[in-house]
């Protein structure tokens, strides 16, 4: 059985990590650097960062922290890369190859395309040719519309009319290396993963799939891992912020229960 990665997915809004709910409500959790340092202590498999800032301004908001201020995405990536040694994937606001270059140059190991891939599908191939397909993750946000899954872009506001599997298949043709599948309806709800859609997506493609959206606890990780055998990555956005040693404790639990994790 495939070794499954357990991946914290962190959302950055205007320079701070946020807790996300339903893609439209975001509470500020803390600075990117303090978070990254802690995940580094916990030796996580991989980190996924997605910048969801509507206006691309970044500010710590106060100057009396024991932390140098930062005001741009480049600085943010550099600061995270300084304290982290695991693979780092960055997404959000990437629309062309120079956006990709900027992130790679500052320390990203992979980049994540979402709206940019939908608007300019060739960007997937261009990035893959330059940096290798293992470097290109396409993030696929979807919600259920009339009982059927549909892909949305632009922070979940633009309906594409495509199903998850249709869009994944297109991304695969374009040269994507990996899929990050996120259920908008389940974001921040803690009601468990959408196993049906995840399983169907995993079976529809050769690409490794990371699934996100809905985890409330380690039992949800376990259920997802057991139900979707070929799933490559289990991600959670909010959960790891909430309890002490959340990541190593979840890993330990999964191992003890026979899940093949690193």
């Amino acid at each position: 059985m495939l070794k499954k990665r357990l991946i914290p997915a962190l959302f950055i809004k205007n320079g701070l990590i946020v807790r996300s709910e339903n893609f439209d409500y975001h509470q500020f959790i803390g600075s990117v650097v303090h978070e990254a340092k802690r995940y580094s202590d916990w030796d996580v498999d991989e980190l996924v960062y997605i910048d969801i800032s509507r206006e691309k301004e970044y500010d710590l908001r106060r100057d009396d922290y024991n932390l140098d201020a930062y005001y741009s995405m480049e600085e943010i990536i550099r600061k995270i890369a300084e304290v982290c040694f695991m693979p780092l994937a960055f997404g959000g606001g990437i629309r062309n190859l120079s956006d990709v270059d900027l992130r790679i140059r500052n320390g990203a190991d992979k980049i994540i395309l979402n709206t940019g891939a939908y608007e300019t599908p060739e960007l997937i191939g261009q990035t893959a040719s330059k940096y290798g397909s293992q470097c290109v993750i396409v993030s696929v946000d979807y919600r259920m519309v009339d009982g059927k899954d549909q892909v949305f872009t632009s922070f979940g506001t633009h309906a594409t009319g495509l199903t998850v599997n249709e869009w994944i298949s297109r991304c695969e043709q374009e040269g994507a290396g990996e899929i990050f599948l996120n259920a908008i309806d389940r974001d921040g709800k803690g009601n468990g993963y959408d196993i049906e859609t995840i399983e169907s997506a995993v079976e529809s493609t050769k690409l490794p799939v990371i699934a996100c959206g809905g985890a409330a606890d380690e039992f949800d990780f376990q259920e997802l891992a057991e139900e979707v055998e070929n799933l490559s990555g289990i991600a959670a956005g909010n959960l790891f912020h909430f309890t002490e040693r959340s990541y190593p404790r979840a890993k330990k639990y999964l191992k003890e229960n026979g899940i093949n994790v690193r």
Binding site: F28, R38, R62, D64, F242, E244
Partner: protein
Amino acid sequence: MIATIPQINYCKKCLLPSSSAIPVAFDDHGVCSACRTSKEKEAIDWDRRLKKFQRILEQYRSKDGSNYDCIIPVSGGKDSFFQVHQVKNEMGFNPLLVTYNSNNYTPTGLKNLQRMRDVFGCDHVFFTTSVHTLQKLNRISVQIMGDTQWHYQSGIFTYPFQVAVQMNIPLLIWGEHGHMDIGGMHSYNDFVEFTYRYRHEHILRGFEWTDFMAKAAEYGETLERREMIPFVYPSDEEIDRVGVRGIYMANFVKWEANEHGPLMMEKYGWLENEEPFERTYRRMSNLDDFYENGIHDYLKFIKFGYGRATDHACKDIRAGKMTREEGIKIIQQMDHVKSKDVYQWLDFVGWTEEQFDHLADTYRDPRVWWIRDGQWHKMDITGEPTAYGKVHLTPEEQQKYVRA
């Protein structure tokens, strides 16, 4: 550089400003995350949560009575009383009470602490750091982070964990999660627990005892490693060995501070402060350290343009005990007051007032404050730019506060 100086806005429901010291988010209707989180309380099935609380505690009960069932970190305030009342008297557990002493109790606060021992009959550890060390930590703290209170915040959120590790008591029961209560950092569905990261980043703002040691000489102080023992948080290995876990009772038992006060007075003779405070109208909060309502909070006003009267009024507005208009009147009268304990503090550390005022001014947030005609100005909640006294900075230091 800050790209654009943001307009300070205020929550449409309460009085919380976007310059809040605690990271606060506003929704599309201009309502703050604290109001939003607070409203969640109405729809929660609290009976179900109480059962969950009981189940968690049961997991940690000392079966043969050879150890305590849990630790409750206490200050002797109304919330401490409520926690011990719930855990010991209502649910029948045997907690060890642990207090890190601020060294600045109000006389009423001390009476309450003594009363807590008398009425609950719990074992109680009361820890006090050397006053000589405290003087040094106060001076360094105000200079490196614009706050006098590092030792207290650090002590409260370190010492009980040291006891947990030393005595092998895994479960700590806190009252409410401060940033969730005041800023709405979390949802009640998160069941957030205490984390080292929250302590390090939000409570201590990234400053550890090691930073104090490293910077002491720069400020003409000498600090020895042995003076920092109370502030050394246990390692991840120690935390894991004991399985330490800090839960917040407010996730399980409906938390309404306005009700705890009267309930604890009636049941246990708890007292609200016998003297009024200068910077807030509430008499039932922060009796464990008069600086919390005083110099510490005055520095918050200096930095971010609002104070504890705002925090308290926000809570009372959310609880339906005050209107927004009543709140505005109060905060316009109280948020800026330079309280008398500032002079007591100056005496404690041996500083002059000018020395303090100058230092404080260097911490003003340029997102909030600007200088005009030698006076500090900020935009008030009323929408009026208002002057708040003379500037104590050099012309060079004033540069970043001049707006076009």
